[in-house]
Each structure stands twice: as structure tokens, then as C-alpha cells.
Amino acid sequence: MSLQFEKLCSLILLEHFGEIIQKVGNDLYKCQSKPLNLIVGSTKLPFQKVKQALRIMIQYGFVTFAEGQFPDKAEYTLLADKVILLLRYPRYLLLMKTQYGDEAEMLVEEILRRGQDTASSVIIRAATRLKESLKVEKVCLVTLHDKFSVLVNKQFLMRCPSPDEEKGVPVLTIKEKLLYLPPELNLKGLADIEEGKPGDPGDGGIYWRVNFDRFHQDFRDQIMVSAISRRCDDNAGELLKELLKQMYLRTEAWAATSNPVPFTELREAVRKQSSRPLLGQYIEQYLKVMEEDSSGFVSKVGDSSGGQYSINMKTAFVQLTWATIENIVMERFGSKGARIFRLVRAKKFVEQEQIQQVAMIPAKEAKLLTYRLLEENFLHIQELRKSLANNVPNKTFFLFHIDLNQVARMVLEMCYKALYNAMVRREHERSENRRMVEKQQRIESITLTMREQGATAEQLAEVGPANASQDHKTQQMEVC
């Protein structure tokens, strides 16, 4: 991919998994796939450590293997996208917590911590952790098991492919219909294992992992709903949520446009949801507003059964991308720069003089901003020559235009670089303030114990003033 991406992946691996895995990851990033011996040769790490590193990376899903040139010797490939996803784990867990509850969050967290695991061990570990955190005596295993099945049915968790036959390099496959089949667990066996007795929960060899795509789908929906809520109001957001739910019954998840949803069903669904009576009253008006809105989220595709509405995912996200990039331009170049950018977007191909005239910005400033935008690759130039000869003072037209794909990729690179810089800076701040942070922690623990023992306020103040500002800075760094 790109240099920034590589550095970012490398840093993430270092932070989470340590030096050895970082080195192996770097090595695999550079080449498509490599067998074990070549990795050992180029990283110059001990053989055992490389084996360990590869095992762990396969477990967590960053590396896949396939049969290479020699039989029984596998070639390993790094999946860099999965490495970046490590940064999103807290968001996934937050989504789980808000939508499905603490137990679901705990289950998903346990699977994320281990990469892949059997359902029984996940449930047992989650039960132990819940017991500790909620300080309850007994956590019902049945509820956890039910929650697990719910998550599988909603496709948040999926089965890992398993090897067919015993070979040197196993080929992992799984049938489509088995992917989201909930496990059948022997609850008695589960209870036995929890108490420490040996028992068989009946699901050996079936491993589960998190289905990241499903989470991304949910994030996408959230983005769209919040965009509509900002644009119109909350009721419209609610309406879009209902529309999305209806859409999923009929369309596959990542289609560019959804299949049409008839109005009658939508109205039924909205009526069942009694939380917003206003929405039920004005549903038609809301739909009309959303349909005529320039953002193009929803469009009416037919008139049967009261109207057929469909959501245009692709157009919606193109619009959102434009909006994001315009905001970025505004933050970097000021509102005048943003005005120029919007102008070029609206007119598709503009000449320098036209920009000056239409944007109503003084000439020199307009030129300056235009060329700065060009320098930063937000604008592109298209030359139209009138003659091929170069020595004639020819009237070549220089037209400014925006190529959204290129600009979007460039902004993505900028994000990677910013993320990398932020992480490096955070490490730096952390190591610099390490002494301070440790002191702060010690003070906290001392005050806690003292408070438990009933110390007076003066004694607490004696222990030391909290260096709040330094600590706050360190915490800010960790936000990234």
C-alpha cells in the first residue's frame, strides 16, 4: 500500500503485540506472501520466536496462510486492514454496550481479546468477569448462552472456517449456511467446567470470531441517521432508522441502492413504535422533505401501495464525503478557500478568471488560495492546448477541477499520517511524564486507602496536590 499505512500498521503492532511481532509484520508487509524460512532469514530473529509470532498473528486473524510452492510448506500473507481495525475495538464494544447490554459487550470483548475461541470458553470467561465486575454471586450461564445465540443470529459473530482433512498445510473452509448457526451447548457441561470439574460442553473444534463487516454496517447506518437528524430533525432520523430496518429485510447489506420499500409497511412499522407520535402523524410530509432534499438520501421509485421508497447508500456517502472534504478545506484554508472549493465543485471545470469573478474574492487573494489548494492537491489542473508547439505564446486553457476519488484518497493518507504522528507523540508524552503518572497513581491509591480508613480532609491534602494539568494532558493523548 503506502508508506504512511505501513508505518501506522507497524506502530500498532508494536504497541499491542511487541517488537517481535512488529518485525515479522513489517517483513510480511513488504512482500505479498512468504514461507517461514524466508521470514526467518530476512528478520534475523530466532526460529522459535518467529514461529510463536506467526501463531499469534494467525490466531488474531492478521495473517493467513496458503499452500506455497513446496508441499507442506505454507506461505504467509499479512492482512494489513485487519491490523488497522485494532484501533476500532473500543468503538465496537461501545456499540454493543449501548445496543445490546453489558453481557453482550463482555462476550464480544472476550472474543476480541483472544482472537478466536470456542463458545464455551468465551461464555465461562465472560461469566467470571461479570461476577467480578458486578460483584454478584452467581451469573446465570443460560442468559449468557442466549445472548451469544442472539449475537450469532444478528451476525455479529461468525464461525471460523475449519480444516477439512489432515494435511501439512490445512485448507480452511466453511459452508455458507453454517456461518451463522448458533452453537448447541450442553449447559450441564458448561456448568461443570465453571465449577472446575472436567466437563464436555459439546462444542469442541468450533471457533468463533467477530464479524467486523457487520459492525461497519451498523456504523454506516449510524452515520446516515445522524446526518439526516442534523439536516432535518430527530423525527426524520427515526424515520430513516425504520426505513433502514425495512430495507434490511429485502436487500443485502452492502448494496449501492436498496430495493424499494412500500410506504404501507413503513407506516405500519412507525405506528408500532409509539415513542414518537408526531412522526406517525406527519410521516408523509417527512418522507416528502427527505425525498426532495438535495442530499439524495431517499428517493421515490414507484407509486404502488402508497409509494415505493428506496435509500441510496452510494449517493448518500458521496454527499457525505463532499461535505467532509469541504469542512477540511475550511479548517485549513479559511472560509474563502472553502468558497473557492465549493465553486469549483459546482462548476466542474473553471478557469482562473471565472473563479475570481464568481467567488467575489479580490483577485490576488483568489489566485493565492487557488494555487495553494492546487499545491495541496485538493484541486487539479486540466490543460487544454490550442496548439502543440511550445514556443508560440499559446492560449492554453488551464481549467481547475476536482477528482473526488483522488482527493478522498489523499485525505485518507493525511488521516493515517495524523494518526501515526499522534500515536508517536502520545508515546513520547507518556515516557516523559512516566514519573509523574506513577506518582499520581501512587497518590490515588494512598488516598483511597486512607479514605477507607477514615482519614480527615487535612491528612488527604497533606498527601500531595494532584498534578491535574499534566495528567490531563497525558489522558488527552490517549484519546486518539
Binding site: 503485540f17 511481532i21 522459535q48 481479546r113 482562473q352 514556443n391 505564446p393 489522558q475 488527552q476 484519546v479
Partner: protein, 234 residues
């Protein structure tokens, strides 16, 4: 190409350049920005400060989650630590530190059928067997070498016996022979290193002292010898 065009134009008698200064956008007489003499600064000054980070309850919660996750990974056996280089002296606390560091390493269990055979631990046995045969080959070579050396030493010994005291030479030869054996063991130990933990090379017989350092005092009386080859005498 542009240069050539311009050069050709000049040759023909002052034809204008392919673009005029007006077209570029600067009216004549205005101050043009100066020549760029060095690469742009690495940290250019920002005109507009970025928007402050948004932290709310959710942000704090996610931060806590992330911290927990990273800490968990660091403590887990998934965090592969490089082989620690040995300190110059073995310290008493090393025994306990190593125990602490290795405490979690047994936890991570893998389902070996899902991994390629070369990554499985059973592969070690075949590796070991191969290594063992290689080791025995090397050992054979070493013993041959040491035999050669022993032979050479015997010859030297005889020469020295002819020159000076026989006992001193004999001792040297013995010392050298033991050193060679030590080296042979050390090499094997180094190869086994790859499979197992480091064999402490100096701890073969429960002491810190390399046997060749040991001077059992028999040379004490033979001070007349020119013992240039002996190790440092403590």
C-alpha cells in the same frame, strides 16, 4: 523540450516565451515571491488552530476500554518478548524475575489442526531429530578435530619434554583437551538453544568456574617453567 523551444526562439531573434508574465497572473511591476532556497520547513506554522478534541462520557469510556485491552495484551502470552540478553553477571534476582515473566506463557492454547504443520510444536521433534543427527555429525567432527588437536598437543608435548619439564606440558595439554571438549559441548548446547532455553554454558557442573581456570596448585612448585600459555592465575 521547453528549453529547446525557448532556445530556438531566441536563436530566431527574440521570439516571446511560450507564456507571458501577464498570463501567469502577475502584473508587471509587482513584487514576486522570492526564490525558494531550501526545502519547506518540517513544521510549518499553522494558520488555523485545529478544533479541540471532543471528549464526552463515551470518549472516556472508550479510552478506558482501549487501555484495558492494551494492558491485557501486554500481560498475555500474545506479547512475544524478545530473548533477553544475559547480563554480565548472573544476579540472584534473575531467577525470580524470569519466573514472573514466564508465568502466563502456558495459557495460550492453540488448536493445532488449524495451523500449518510447520508451526505446530510437534514439528520440533522432527527438527530435533534432524538437529540431533546434525549435532552428532558435528560432534563427530569436533571429536575428530579434538583428536587431531590432542595428537598435535601430544607432539608438542613431546617436543617440550625434550626442551623442558614434561609435567608442565602435560598439564597444558590436558587443559587444552578439556577446553576443546567444553567447546564441543558448548556448540551442541548452542544448537539446542534454538529449541530449548539457554543452557548456561558456564554452569555445566554446578560451578561458575570454567574448569580450565582451575589451577590445582601442582604448578606452584614448577615456577621455573615459562608458563606463558597458562590462563590468568588468580
Amino acid at each position: 523540450m521547453a528549453g529547446r523551444g525557448r532556445g530556438g526562439g531566441r536563436g530566431r531573434g527574440r521570439a516571446a516565451m511560450s507564456f507571458s508574465v501577464e498570463q501567469l497572473g502577475f502584473s508587471p511591476g509587482e513584487a514576486l515571491p522570492g526564490p525558494v532556497l531550501q526545502p519547506p520547513p518540517i513544521y510549518p506554522p499553522m494558520e488555523n488552530r485545529p478544533i479541540p478534541l471532543q471528549t464526552g462520557v463515551e470518549g472516556e469510556y472508550m479510552m478506558a476500554l482501549k487501555r484495558d485491552f492494551v494492558e491485557f495484551l501486554r500481560d498475555s502470552p500474545a506479547f512475544v518478548t524478545p530473548v533477553a540478553t544475559k547480563a554480565d553477571i548472573e544476579r540472584y534476582s534473575d531467577r525470580y524475575q524470569v519466573a514472573l515473566a514466564n508465568k502466563n506463557h502456558g495459557d495460550l492454547k492453540f488448536d493445532w489442526t488449524r495451523f500449518p504443520s510447520e508451526l505446530r510444536p510437534q514439528a520440533r521433534l522432527t527438527g530435533k531429530r534432524k538437529r540431533r543427527t546434525k549435532a552428532t555429525e558435528r560432534e563427530a567432527k569436533l571429536t575428530k578435530k579434538s583428536l587431531d588437536i590432542v595428537n598435535r598437543l601430544d607432539e608438542l608435548e613431546k617436543k617440550e619434554e625434550q626442551q623442558s619439564d614434561g609435567e608442565g606440558g602435560g598439564e597444558e595439554a590436558e587443559g587444552k583437551e578439556e577446553e576443546e571438549e567444553k567447546e564441543g559441548e558448548e556448540e551442541e548446547g548452542a544448537m539446542d538453544d534454538l529449541e530449548e532455553e539457554d543452557l548456561d554454558e558456564e554452569m555445566d557442573e554446578g560451578t561458575d568456574y570454567i574448569n580450565s581456570y582451575f589451577d590445582n596448585g601442582e604448578n606452584y612448585l614448577d615456577e621455573e617453567d615459562d608458563n606463558l600459555d597458562d590462563g590468568p592465575i588468580y
